[in-house]
Amino acid sequence: MSNGKSNCLYGLTAEFEEPAALLAAARQARAAGYRKIRTYSPFEVHGLDEVLDQQRTPVLGWLVLIALLLGGAAAFLMQYWTAVVDYPLNVGGRPLFSWPAFIPITFEASILFAGVAAVGFLLIRSALPQPYHPIFNTDGIEAASQSRFFLCIQTDDAQFRLRETWQFLQNLEPIQVSEVTC
């Protein structure tokens, strides 16, 4: 919706006092056919992901597993290559490929790769850091990190009609409904 105008509309928000109210509102909005719904809350409201059909993170576990194996393999092969191929050094006739001694570094590198991958995935998928977002233009959005719960229906929703959507949100009995400029 960013058409360059400063007074364009990003969506409409409804502000609630309780997580339960937000959950109920999200459920009704889905039932009413809205799809482009976002919620903003000071902590995770359990069940919202199901209601909003946002459970799309199974890839995270797999990605972390792949990073884990990759890190381990890279560390092990690096040790193998440097100790056996690149510069074989005979220390008292001990085997060059003394793999049990390679395990600690392999283990630590696996964890390091996996940890970095997990956090990287979190930031990239959530598009963070993102200094500007239209939702910050909402009246009183500061409370979304303290004590209030916001539901936003975006204008790019196929069913978004300013007047009807406004009325719909009003019927959910929020503290207030407000417009979000982008």
Binding site: T57, L68, T82, A101, E108, G115, L122, S126, I135, Q146
Partner: protein, 455 residues
Amino acid sequence: MATQNQIIPRGQMADAPAGRFSLGSITDAVIAPIFGRTPAWWWIGFLLSTLLLLVFVFTLGRVATVGVGLWDVNQPVVWGTGIINLVFWIGIGHAGTFISAFLLLMRQSWRGAFSRYAEAITLFALATAGLFPILHTGRPWFAYWVGPYPNTLGLNPQWTSALVWDLVAISAYGIVSLLFFYVDLLPDFAAVRDKAQRPLTKGIYSFLSMGWRGDSTHWVRLRKTAYLLAALATPLVISVHSIIGLDFAITNVPGWHHTVFPPYFVAGAVFAGFAMVLIFAIALRSLFNLQNLITLKHIDWASRFMLVTGLMVGYGYAVEVFGAFYAGHTGEVLLTVERTFGPYGLAYWGMILFNVVIIQLLWFKSVRRNLPLLVLICIGVLIGMWLERFVIISISLGYGHMVSMWDQWHPTLTDWLTIFSPFGLFLTAMFLFIRFFPVMPMYEVQEVAHEEGWE
């Protein structure tokens, strides 16, 4: 989260009478010190810490420019205060990630009372610890030689050396702990940002929060990431001090060559770490008026953890002595006698007193809830754990297998400065942390509070 708890029953976050909390009041309580006037005790503590930090810089500067001989390290006692401090400070750094990771996996929702500043303790203790092996190399500007990097000689690190394992383990631990710490801070930085009035403050916290806005999809990802990091960090914590233990165990020095070392080192590390965390918990709750969030019940539970790990450490001492006599190896027996009744016998018995005897008081509930006494016990544990490392490292090296390898280590003035001045770095960082960072994970405590119905 809290509902699935099995070990400790529901309602564990607080001795919470209904009506004490409302949404937002937790955030207010935790954020208040950031925007309030800087209290006088903070300035006094901060200035004293920075003075000590200057002493630390001076000491390390002397060691770097003159040489490690200032620590009286020479053949055969080649490991002195530098290595003792490395092990001591890494140990302090073990409770933080243990609390964050292990307690998260165990679904102990009371971890919120400790996790944030425990993680900060971990990071700053690690930063302190990391300086010592670098200085101990003697020529710290060549410390990078221990890592794998292409060089003109075509040389590679010796992968079978525990010292290279240390480098990798400590770096991996530091990075993963930092990620864990930071990810957990994003929502809290956002909360501080939204409370901030002055543009500059708002700007700084906006930057730190990366534009966190509490989107439900982000929350789901944050939770899953936190669980994954916890699952990764738990074995990591255990591996790091195990590897430090292997530094000793894989050599054949009498008193080091024990298979019990890795687990016994891990227990000792968590033990010392909990002591440090408890000191900060008790200080913060009264200085920042967080008595409702860090309750006596939490302190009680953390004390129990300290008792359990302390008993493991005591078991380690027993196994060491038993092992020496059971093996009947002359060097081991001799060392055991010298440790206990030799010139530094006082250090051994001090260690037993602080780490084994005094902590038995923690069996009593009245002691676990007596805060001044608890602080004294914790300080005792820190002293005891330092003595333990001293006994293991510097005394053992002086009793090698041959008479020609016998010698005694004598602490110098530089040693004494090296023992005390690292607290300057650590405390300066901690004072800055408690002044500018939310000291508790507000979003998590709010969530638990809401689920357990504190309102």
